[in-house]
């Protein structure tokens, strides 16, 4: 009897939670007709914002890969004093309010900022440029990749690495032919998460990069700017972001499945399995 009550209570709690999470997303699509949404996609504000978003996220993600991968590898494989502190520092932007991130970026790279003032002397100004958007996106998104990357590299069986080395492969060859393929699934998961977070970046960008159509106005910024002028355009952009994010998540799940079925190793992506 008690069990039944508890089960029912849980069922309804889950139902409410599910409805609460799904309703706003459904509402974006239900507010206007799909045809109207699609027609808004040709609006110049929307196309410009989409282009800026894709450009800046692509560059930011490339930087995240380039710098994040070695960082994650070192943090995963080396044991040294202060490692835990470094890992925490790398993860900090993840939990930082975006407005604080924007403030920090301004204080560091702004024209009067710590580094920014030196750049300024060289004639390089960062705020209000696409570079600023890239920096903001990379700042908030990279911790997701590095975090996943550490887990992925840690999960690589050290025996495999040792075997590769004893069989005569150099450390470079071992890294690219053994470690990277084994860690690929986890790295891809981190990459997708960082990509999704980067596409949604708002607070740090609007503070640090401002908002200018076709230059620094990303999709989330355009949604905010158009909110009072053209609600339909904001809905269209919202729908666009929902579709992109959902596609990313789906790709992530599918690749995790594919990885799991392809590899019979003990490796698991952990954070992003189905169960």
């Amino acid at each position: 009897m008690r069990r039944a009550i508890l089960a029912t209570a849980f069922f309804f709690a889950a139902l409410i939670a599910f409805g609460f999470l799904v309703l706003p997303i459904v509402a974006i699509f239900a507010h206007t007709s799909p045809r109207h949404l699609i027609s808004q996609l040709s609006n110049a504000v929307v196309t410009d914002a989409l282009r800026v978003s894709l450009e800046t996220t692509a560059i930011a993600q490339a930087l995240v890969l380039l710098f994040g991968t070695p960082t994650a590898y070192l943090l995963a494989t080396r044991r040294f004093v202060g490692r835990a502190l470094l890992v925490t520092l790398v993860e900090l932007p993840l939990v930082l309010p975006p407005a604080v991130a924007g403030l920090g970026l301004l204080a560091a790279f702004g024209r009067t900022g710590l580094l920014g003032s030196s750049f300024e002397a060289l004639g390089i100004t960062i705020p209000f440029t696409q570079t600023a958007v890239v920096l903001a996106v990379a700042f908030v998104a990279s911790p997701l990749y590095v975090r996943q990357g550490i887990a992925a590299f840690e999960a690589v069986d050290p025996n495999m690495v040792a075997a590769s080395r004893t069989l005569g492969a150099g450390s470079t060859r071992t890294f690219f032919r053994v470690v990277m393929p084994l860690a690929r699934g986890g790295l891809a998961a981190g990459f997708a998460l960082a990509l999704a977070r980067g596409l949604g970046e708002f607070g740090a960008t609007i503070m640090f990069a401002g908002s200018l159509q076709g230059v620094t106005q990303t999709l989330p910024l355009a949604i905010y700017a158009e909110f009072d002028r053209n609600f339909d355009a904001t809905l269209a952009m919202g729908a666009l972001l929902v579709v992109i994010s959902a596609a990313l998540l789906l790709a992530l799940k599918l690749s995790a499945l594919w990885q799991a079925s392809r590899q019979s190793s003990r490796y698991r992506s952990g954070l992003l399995s189905w169960s």
Partner: protein, 253 residues
Amino acid sequence: MHLRRLVPTTAALVIAAAFLVGGAAAAPKAQITVYAAASLTDVFPKIDSSQRYSFGGSNTLAAQIQQGAPADVFASANLTLPQQVAQKGLCSKPVVFTRNTLVLIVPKSNPARIRSVYDLRKSGIKLVIAGSGVPVGGYTLQILKNMNLSSVLSNVVSRETDVREVLAKVALGEADAGFVYSTDAKTVPGRVTVLKLPAWAQPKVQYGICIVSASQHKADAQAFVKRVLSKAGQAKLRAAGFLPRVKPAVKRR
């Protein structure tokens, strides 16, 4: 296993808590909620410190009111927005309660060495203005057009969401110049230099106030508007640099 059960329970608790909080806030209270233009951020609490304020771009506030935001009074940095809201039957007919002037501001350090508005034509200047839907953004476009300076818009590096964002970007020295109200420049003394703009080019900057139709506290809202229009209220506005309200020049637009 435990986690899987914990999550929905927590969600349910959060929702329940939200309802409780919402219920508490709905209890009758004399305090009203005033949605006011960002440029009124400093002066409105001086006129009446006991109300709840939400400051922002008037256009954002108007959109929020149209989406059913719980505002009692709407004070906008122009007349057109409250007039639009009134036309939809969502607020009373707006009255002008103050006026303002537009100025150009540069950071104290003046990195781009801007001495007059005409220097904005120099290429490479980082000019920050408000979005065209924001009242001050509209006024900016108007004054530039009046002065035949619309070409300087190519130097715009950001269109901000309200006048205080423009002010902040210039006061921080991130932007070389920006257009704000003279009253905004006064709130950051020593951080910006004010460059006055000719009176002949000035747009008509009138602030309109109205009572939101859906307000549950119409009498209190009315009292607030009266207070703003009263001698004391007007004195506070003038002390902050606002211009005395004059009879609204209706049907000029």
